[in-house]
Every structure is written in C-alpha cells, then in structure tokens.
Symmetry: C2
Subunit: 314 residues, 2 copies
C-alpha cells in the first residue's frame, strides 16, 4: 500500500544516532525511526543507513529530506564546514552527495537551527517574529528567529554559545577564550560543583544537581546561581541586540528551568536596557521531537538563502 | 521657483544640533542646512526649528521626513523610549506630533541605524546582505544589516555597545556592567592613557592619542593594543552570531583605523570560528553625510515593520 499524503523526511543526526521521522505539513510525525550505530560517524555508513531508511519508508510519498547537522554548515551550497565532535567531515558536500545517492532534494542546516525552526512553527515560539533559542547541554547551542525566519547567513551561523562573556576566560572547545558555553555547559556545572564540595561527593548528572538545588543544598545553589548570573548577563546583551519577544530554553540542562528561570530573569533585568526587555517571555521548549520536526521543516521550507542557493540553480 | 524633483528630508539630530538635508532617490544631497541651538533639546524648540526648516525648503518637492534620533525608539509606533543624553523625551510620540505639526509623513529610528542604512545603500557596505556597523566615539553605537535590511525589532534595538564583554566589569552609562562600550569609548581610552602616563602628560583628544600611537609611543600603543584586543574579542562573538560579509567602522575614533585594523583583525582570528570569518572585510565608513542620507532613507524606505506599523494603519 502506498500512502498518498505528502510528507517530508526529517533527520536529527547526533553522531552515533539518527532520529528520523516522516512529518506532514502540519508538523505531525507520521512515522518515526531511531538508528544507533558507530557507522553513522563514517560517510559511507551514513549514506548506507539513509538508503536503508528510505527503503523502510518506501510506501510513503516523500517530497524531500532535511537534515539537522551537529556542526557548522554552508547553507547556500549545502556542505559541511566541520563537525566539532566528529572528525573527517571537513568541507564535505553532504547535500549534493545525498541528492545523487537518494534521488530526492536535500536541505541541510545546523541542528540548533532545526530545533529553532520547529519551536518557531509549532512550539513555544509559534507566531513570534523574534525569538532566541538556546539548547543547554554539554555545550550551548543557539539560534535566532528574526522576522519569522532563521537569521540569514551563508553559514548556519547563530553560534550563540561562542559569544565571549569574559575578556580573560577559559579555553573553549572552539579554540576561543571566555565563550559563554564554558560558563554554562553541563561539564562545567558538574566540575564546579565537585570543586565546591572539595571532591567529597559524587553527582551523577545535571538532573541530580538540579534536585540538590531544589532540596536547598548550599553548594548546588551556588552553582545554579552562578549559572544564572552568567546566562542572564549573556542574554541581556543578546536582548539589547535582538529585542526578542521570547527566549526558548531546550536541551538537558533546561530540566532545571524552574530553578534557574527567576534567577536568570533577575540578572537580565539588572543588565538590560529596559525598552529591549518589554514583554519578553522566558519559556521552556515545548516539542517532543523538535529535532526531527525542524529537520523536516528544513526540507519543506527549502534552503534559507533562496536567491543564491539551490532553488535558484535548478 | 519650485523644484520638481522628488526629495526626502533627512535629519540627523544630535541634541543641540540638527544636520538637515534634502536627498534625492540616488542618495545625493540636493541642499543642506545645519542648525545649532540649545532649543533643540526642548520639544517645542525642536518642533519650531523643524517648521522653520520646512519654510526654508518650501520651494522643494519634499515627499516625507526621516529622523535619526540619539536614543532608543519604538519603530513600530514611532515614539521615543528615551534619549540617554537628553532628559525629558521619555515615551514621547515624536512621529505623530511631527506629522500633525508639519503635515508630512515622518519616520524615526535610532541614529546608528540611519548611519548603517546609508552606508548599506550608498557607502562601504553597498550590495552586501549582511553587515555590522560600529560608530566609535564617546560611546559605541551599533547596527546590523541582515538580508539587506535593518535587523527587525519593535525597538530600534541593535544596541551592540551594550553587549557585556566581562562578567565583572565597570558600570556603564546604560546601568549594566561590563558593556563593550566601557572598554572602547573615547573617554575610557583617554583616561586609561593618562593613568599609564601617571597623569604626567596632557592629551587633547583621541586624534592626538592616535598620532602618538603612530609615532610609536609606548603607552599610546598599549592603549590601542588593549582597545583592539577588546574590540576584536567582542567582534568575534558577533561574527559567530551574524556571519557578516563586512564590518564598517565609523565615528571619531575610527580616525585611528589604520593603527587598530590589523590588531583587531588578529584578535578576531584568534577568537572566531573560522567558517564565520571567511571573506570578511573590515572597512572604514565611506560617506560624508551618512547621518543625513540615512535619515532620508528612513523616509524613502518607510518604517521597518510594515506589517504592524504606520504604513498599514493608513
């Protein structure tokens, strides 16, 4: 049986896993599949797995494919500049290689941009023209919606995690120093906590650190207060630049939203120019499968820079 | 005699002066006038002077008026939130008051945005879709062109000078702490230099500090090196976010461009994620009367958020 309904294949690619979904034009996931394999770090393995996936989905009317990529992408030409955590993909023309191999139009972008697009169309930023998106996890992913669209760029850009917040800061994974990511990433939070505890305690993950904060444990609260101070200060600067209507918090660390939201809001208020902050809302991300839905939106909305990109060449 | 050619009145309002010009659709100034008066700080004085101005220009075919305002503006509704250096204008509906008094359509925006618009249409950023604009002077004014247009906002936004660059920084005029403005403003440069000289020398202005740097004087070079370090670090963060094609330097301190450009470029390179920086150019502002021409462009291009603003209400 062939399904008649038009769908878009959204792929959230995290390195060793693929979360794939067929998404209809209302943002509903019609079918979902998750693959886990170290093969996915390799080019040929990645392509082969996508072929298998398309085979599994062969009864569907797939119009195009979108991929959220964990790295910096040239969105005009559809190639990967590099993936910070997966070596070997430098300057790889992923879009054209996949189009040749899979026989369908492909759009690629950064995964944080895909997340932002999904939350902007169907989630916590629905109907908003200006929004800032953060994915708080090991690193700090970021994206901007301006005028209802992803901020224009030749690259996937929007690397909010790599805005320096201290002139003489720690070395960041990106090679720079003092990036906000080095002050709010979960590795930093945990190591900072252990230092405060003089290494006399174990803490499994940020979730546990969150619970200890909720329980009122002194050192855990210190960590969350500093986290909020740093994040709020950074956000105040971005609010001064973008005048967003809403800031959306996603990613694992956003589990502690209840705890840090009032502290972040307080810090923003101290630092920001007040007209920039009028009516601003701080909100948790809403969608369960934002990565997949956003990738499908990359496919259905096409690439970003239409006047220079793929849609013109064809 | 009445001139037939269609012109736009651009007004660069600096507090105690008005630089006014009639600008044609090619960005050429047909006629220019400068008024200086402390009356211009007062509402009625400001309105009266604009009436006189229109009277002087009565033989011209003026289509509309644009004003670059030294403060934060609501560009949707055309009112002033506040002017940092001129008290008494809080929440003042400048646009509607002037339209009633002058009988012509009026558009208002922040003066740094007007400058950016002029350089983007006719100056150093002509033809570029993505550009960052800095006016280096007492403070640090900033503006963004994204997708060929001013970054959208309800406010005039784009307050690049008030992005914090240090977690525990000095108090800024805006009320925040550690804003980049407090590290690159001319007052800071001069006081830093005097401190290094242990107050044993006099320096008239930044121009003289620039000359001493060019002459190779140690302390002056230290000041320019630190200036460049701070500015470059800040710009790297903005480049990571915006992926601009060009950064334009205007304002009095940009007189020292020759001296600080290579140092700023070096610092950017150290800090930035390289794909964001590809092909980026650092350039001095080009236009002589960018403030006037930009204000006229505010008039000719209309207000920014057309779907919510004045152009819809009419």
């Amino acid at each position: 049986m062939t399904h008649k309904i038009k769908v878009f294949l959204g792929i959230d690619w995290g390195g060793t896993y693929i979360k794939a979904g067929l998404v209809d034009s209302q943002g509903k996931i019609v079918k979902k599949k998750v693959y886990c394999s170290s093969q996915l770090r390799e080019k040929q393995g990645f392509i082969n797995n996508l072929k298998l996936l398309l085979n599994d989905f062969s009864s569907f009317n797939i119009k195009s494919i979108g991929i959220g990529v964990p790295g910096i992408v040239d969105v005009e030409k559809g190639f990967i500049y590099y993936l910070p955590n997966i070596p070997g993909w430098e300057k790889y023309p992923l879009q054209s290689v996949l189009e040749k191999n899979l026989g369908l139009p492909v759009s690629i972008d950064n995964d944080a941009n895909a997340f932002a697009l999904a939350e902007s169309r169907f989630g916590a930023a629905k109907g908003k023209k200006r929004a800032i998106f953060l994915t708080l996890g090991t690193g700090l992913g970021g994206a901007i919606i301006s005028g209802g669209k992803l901020l224009e760029g030749k690259t996937s850009a929007n690397e909010l995690g790599h805005v320096p917040i201290n002139l003489a800061g720690r070395l960041c994974g990106c090679g720079g120093r003092g990036c906000i990511e080095t002050y709010v990433g979960n590795r930093y939070l945990l190591s900072h906590y252990k230092r405060l505890k003089k290494n006399k305690t174990k803490v499994k993950d940020v979730k546990e650190l969150f619970q200890r904060g909720l329980d009122g444990e002194g050192e855990a609260l210190v960590v969350w207060k500093e986290f909020s101070h740093n994040l709020g200060k950074f956000l105040a600067g971005m609010i001064n630049v973008f005048n967003p209507q809403v800031i959306i918090f996603g990613g694992g660390v956003s589990g502690a939203f209840k705890l840090f939201k009032p502290l972040v809001a307080e810090e923003i208020k101290k630092q920001v120019m007040w007209p920039q902050n009028l009516g601003l809302k701080l909100v948790r991300a809403k969608l369960k499968n934002a990565g997949i839905i956003g990738a499908a939106l990359l496919a259905s909305e096409g690439i970003r820079n239409k006047d220079k990109g793929r849609s013109e060449k064809k």
